[in-house]
């Protein structure tokens, strides 16, 4: 009896908290007497935290906001054989337990979030990398990956000695194809003679390409043997294998999401030309701050070059000489003079 009563209490407390949020939220213009949210939950997809990449970056933004706002922060991770029902159950549990804001990292949560967000209208939801979930309490956080990829593509086009650059994507889905499209366009813009080779490590519904370094390594070695001397690895955890291959064959690679020069082992890092930065932290941070400030608005927010959502890394100093050119391209994209395609 006792534990069940405990849960009932927790649910009641959660409802109470959400109710507070609801009343203060609906009274537009009035300043809330207390912080309207107390806790935030972050739900990851399979790879979870500690990937050194995308999930960690999304967490950093949530953590920063939680520290500044004094929120309780909890994290949960998906299991390998999850279905949409499992993911919905996870989000539902978090909402029931009184978490005021729930961030799902990854588009696999799209369908479950659509269901659960409607069940808990007082909880604020955000989903990273998906723009299909709708509702008055849902924020979609999208990134203009093609814009950032254009810049590292330009860097590759300027850097290559053989006029051949490569792209290795994790899984052939629209999200990753955006990286390819931007990369190829940037490379061709900077170097009209360049030839772009592209390959994907797996095809949906097989998502192993996000976490298969040996496969990334083999694919990269094949490209380097073909005369490619710079490869952009938009392949999540598999990118580590691409960087290894770059070091092994004395060529160059480009990282993704995080500044991979800083994360890679010593032996490898001097072959990482630059990285396409995808600052998921900006999206998660701004979402939480908006919920806390009562300025939350539903709908999709896209983070691109203009608002610091994407960019390129300068660690290692390899792109210092061409940084002026890259920045000029960036300014051109922001000004609308350069239109970057989103599909290859």
């Amino acid at each position: 009896m006792h534990p069940r009563r405990l849960i009932a209490l927790a649910i009641a407390a959660g409802l109470g908290l959400s109710a507070c949020l609801g009343t203060t939220g609906s009274g537009s213009g009035t300043t809330p007497p207390t912080p309207p949210i107390n806790s935030v939950a972050v739900a990851y997809d399979i790879s979870g935290r500690g990937d050194g990449g995308f999930n960690d970056i999304a967490y950093n933004g949530a953590k920063q906001a939680a520290d500044e706002l004094g929120l309780e922060l909890i994290e949960v991770t998906a299991k390998l054989d999850d279905t949409d029902d499992d993911r919905a159950e996870r989000l539902r549990l978090l909402a029931e337990r009184g978490y005021d804001a729930i961030i799902a990292v990854g588009f696999t949560y799209a369908v479950p979030m659509q269901t659960v967000a409607a069940e808990f209208p007082l909880v604020r939801f955000a989903i990273v990398d998906d723009g299909t979930v709708t509702g008055p309490n849902v924020r979609g956080i999208l990134f203009a990956e093609h814009e950032g990829s254009f810049l590292v593509g330009a860097a590759a086009g300027l850097w290559t000695q053989t006029d051949q650059v490569g792209f290795i994507g994790a899984v052939q889905i629209p999200l990753i194809q955006k990286f390819e499209a931007g990369f190829a366009a940037g490379a061709r813009q900077a170097n009209p003679d360049v030839e772009v080779q592209a390959t994907y490590l797996s095809q949906p519904p097989d998502y192993s390409g996000f976490g298969d370094p040996p496969h990334g390594r083999e694919a990269a070695l094949g490209m380097y043997d073909n005369g490619v001397d710079v490869i952009f690895a938009a392949a999540g955890g598999s990118g580590a294998g691409v960087h290894e291959a770059a070091a092994a064959s004395g060529s160059w690679s480009i990282g993704v999401d995080a500044d991979e020069y800083r994360l890679a082992p010593e032996a490898v890092r001097d072959h990482i030309l630059t990285s396409m930065l995808k600052n998921a932290n900006v999206g998660t941070y701004e979402f939480l701050v908006s919920v806390a400030n009562m300025t939350f608005t539903p709908g999709v927010v896209t983070y691109g070059l203009a608002n610091g959502g994407v960019g390129y890394a300068t660690s290692g100093g390899f792109v210092d000489d061409i940084a002026a050119e890259l920045d000029a391209y960036a300014a051109g994209i922001v000004a609308g003079e350069i239109t970057v395609p989103e599909t290859p």
Binding site: T77, D85, T108, V111, G131, P205
Partner: protein, 359 residues
């Protein structure tokens, strides 16, 4: 008296396994820095809520079907690791065919069930044929066929071929099946129960009937007890092995239907790989008995659902994977111990009887 003691021994095995698993779980939780008592009680309380129990049963339905598919193979000592590929390929084929036709509901559902059974059986029959004709190990061939199925589905599911992609979405799926091909949920006060629970019950009953009431079931059991005795009795082993693989595949073909007809109505991210090992484990837990496998599937699903709470206590829910493994291992060990104890008991009984006649 001896019979009573035998029954007690039989019940002792699962009880001992459950107890051992609980002890290991508590130890691991303590090692991970959590309070085992509160954490386990919290998980249990969450798992026993009516809403969660309905969700547990929904999750257990595909596990049960996978368990029955595995049990069919086990009778002939065939490890059908291919349940994974068979079920996904069958679900995919079913989704494509089901979405491609317009039929009145009974015909639509009959067609869907037919496609699922045939696709699963056909894919498993490849491994069966390789085994009886060329002696290829079923474990190896089915693992390979899983990879082939994954590749085949990936190739076919591209938006240029049979796949569909909603704008702004990254979830490539097949087209959606028309409503005449849906199975409505059974409403309960604690939420919707997947209507395919009836299919699972039907499959379990069919399995029990064939195994215990038909010639081929008798042959399969005989073969399982002693291959030599079965061969001497004129049972054709290869034919039986082939049929068992095909039947196992046909049932595996049904594994995706609860998700497909009861929930998603299209093939996409909702059909995870890895169900073969769940099926094999559940069959072991249930000792290949239609009711036992149901209990095994329920326990498996219950553990996975309750585990959701662990994340909230700061404990990695992978601990449940440890727990599941411990339960399967201890069940196997416990039954082996029981088997030996029984053998000893029987020997002693025989010895006593013999001494009685001698004296």
């Amino acid at each position: 008296m001896a019979r009573l003691r035998g029954a007690a021994l039989l019940l002792a095995a699962p009880a001992a396994a459950a107890f051992l698993a609980l002890v290991v779980a508590a130890a691991v939780l303590a090692a991970a820095g959590a309070d085992p008592g509160t954490t386990l009680l919290d998980a249990l309380a969450y798992g026993l809520r009516p809403e969660t129990l309905v969700a547990v049963v929904n999750k257990a339905i595909p596990y049960y079907l996978a368990g029955i598919a595995a049990a069919v193979g086990f009778h002939l000592r065939l490890f059908n690791i291919g349940i994974d590929g068979q079920y996904r390929l069958a679900a995919f084929a079913t989704a494509v065919v089901g979405a491609g036709v317009a039929l009145p509901a009974p015909l639509h559902l009959a067609l869907i069930a037919g496609v699922a059974l045939v696709a699963g059986a056909a894919w498993a029959a490849i491994a069966g044929l390789l085994y009886v004709r060329r002696g290829v190990n079923v474990v190896i061939s089915t693992i390979m066929l899983n990879a082939v199925a994954t590749g085949l589905i990936a190739w076919l599911l591209s938006p240029e071929r049979l796949g569909r992609l909603a704008p702004g979405s990254n979830n490539v799926t097949t087209a959606t099946i028309a409503e005449s091909g849906w199975i409505p949920a059974i409403p309960t006060p604690a939420g919707d129960l997947n209507g395919l629970v009836l299919l699972a019950a039907l499959a379990g009953a069919g399995y029990g009937f064939v195994l215990n009431r038909t010639t081929i079931g008798f042959e399969a059991r005989t073969m399982g007890f002693s291959e030599r005795a079965a061969t001497v009795a004129g049972i054709r082993g290869p034919r039986l092995a082939f049929l068992a693989m095909a039947a196992s595949g046909a049932i595996a073909g049904l594994v995706g239907l609860p998700q497909l007809l009861g929930s998603s109505h299209r093939f996409g991210l909702d059909f995870p790989a890895g169900l073969a090992f769940t099926g094999l484990s559940v069959a072991i837990l249930g000792r290949n008995h239609p009711v036992g496998v149901a209990v095994g599937a329920f326990v498996w699903a219950f553990l996975e659902r309750s585990a959701q709470v662990l994340d909230l206590s700061g404990v990695s829910k992978e601990i449940v994977t440890i727990l599941q493994a411990v339960i399967v291992l201890s069940i196997v060990v416990a039954y082996e111990l029981v088997r030996r104890a029984r053998t000893r008991q029987e020997r002693r009984a025989v010895a006593r009887a013999v001494e009685g006649t001698m004296a």
